[in-house]
Symmetry: C2
Subunit: 235 residues, 2 copies
């Protein structure tokens, strides 16, 4: 109990030069990171309530008591997992503002492509988003906050697209953003159930293309993104 400072603030090392391999974590946190990685898989398979600290600890190679030295409670572990994932997303995809709606759309394609290579992480979000609609769920606050932020960022981007003349003046920012979020979440649900039946990236591109043709001033197609579009579709 005396080892831990504020509620599970990651023990960063502010004085160590900042530029360590990736992200600025202290080297002594490796064990902590291994726990977080294992926890993702368990939360993905069992959800929060039915996951067990002992089983997670076993995956890491320690006991339940050892695990609770790093995270003061199960709930703390969940929140830490979510915050780390979100932080990672932000610095990987949303560290800079979007130049345009088209740029935003292409960035979302990259995100989905990334998610399709992280099945554990993606399934975890599917399970927890569903579970956390209950206000008493420990991740409820996290997901409501997250949805509001994503929705605001997305609709702001669309509004700027209208202001710049990229998008038609009568574009319904909010509705468009909510629909886009729905499509992404829905594809992830289907994909998690039977991954081989659905190429999320290709399907999202198809969706975004139609939307962009519909709301862009020129009616032009979405430009091909940097993400591998050269070989696979040929459409």
């Amino acid at each position: 109990m005396d080892h831990k400072d504020g509620r599970s603030a990651r023990t960063k090392t502010p004085g160590n030069g900042e530029g360590a391999a990736r992200g600025g974590y202290a080297v002594g946190d490796e064990r902590r990171l291994r726990i977080l990685d294992a926890a993702v898989e368990h939360f993905a398979q069992w959800g929060f309530h039915a996951s067990s600290l002992a089983r997670i600890a076993k995956d890491v190679g320690i006991t339940q008591g050892g695990l609770l030295h790093h995270f003061r409670s199960k709930e703390d572990l969940l929140v830490s997992v979510l915050e780390r994932s979100e932080e990672h997303d932000i610095e990987r995809f949303f560290s800079t503002e979007f130049d345009s709606a088209a740029d935003c759309f292409l960035r979302l394609l990259e995100l989905v492509e990334y998610n399709s290579r992280r099945p554990g992480r993606t399934r975890m979000f599917n399970v927890l988003v569903g579970e956390s609609s209950d206000p008493g769920h420990p991740a409820h606050a996290f997901f409501t906050r997250r949805y509001r932020k994503v929705l605001r960022d997305l609709s702001d981007t669309l509004r700027r697209g209208v202001d710049s003349g990229e998008l038609k003046p009568d574009t319904d920012y909010l509705a468009e953003a909510q629909e886009l979020i729905a499509v992404m979440d829905g594809f992830q649900l289907q994909w998690a159930l039977e991954p081989e039946w659905l190429d999320m990236t290709e399907r999202l591109r198809r969706y975004l293309d139609r939307v962009y043709r519909s709301i862009s001033t020129t009616g032009a197609a979405l430009p091909p993104g940097p993400a591998g579009d050269a070989d696979e579709s040929g459409r």
Copy 2:
């Protein structure tokens, strides 16, 4: 153990005239139905693994032992809940084939409108769909079967729309159907998290309208459905 026949086949009463109030259940099954209704709420809030038979039984006003007289196991209870829901959906919305793609779309609007008035049921599906992407989950088979069926029905309907001249010949049945399912599921996730932020029916109508304009031969809007469209939107 001797009271139950095959694995929880609902104890219908084939000899009682078939036309009883609704569905042909025996009157002695009221208790059973109350258990199923209570279970929906629990599976919605806790998922499968973390739901407890004792708590469900308490809601019904009996003990855990009493509950297990009606369902031989927790898993049996889950499957019974899902099958009953599906059966109900089918007889309420899909008892007859679709006349056209437009008819199908309007019927889906009714379904979503219905779902928005059954929050417990809808949340349960959100939670269980996420959980059941794990192949070991007791509802995994149910949801994969369900998705395949819905996908087939939907894409078949679109194909018939093409054949009849209602839809453009180059319509991609499968992609269109997968996207539509994604949109519906995604809206339900958002709605469950913060119901007041999203009118699912209105948003789905907006989506279907754009799709229909895009794939219908005439490029016409989706005709207004029988579902209350007269007063609320004015668009």
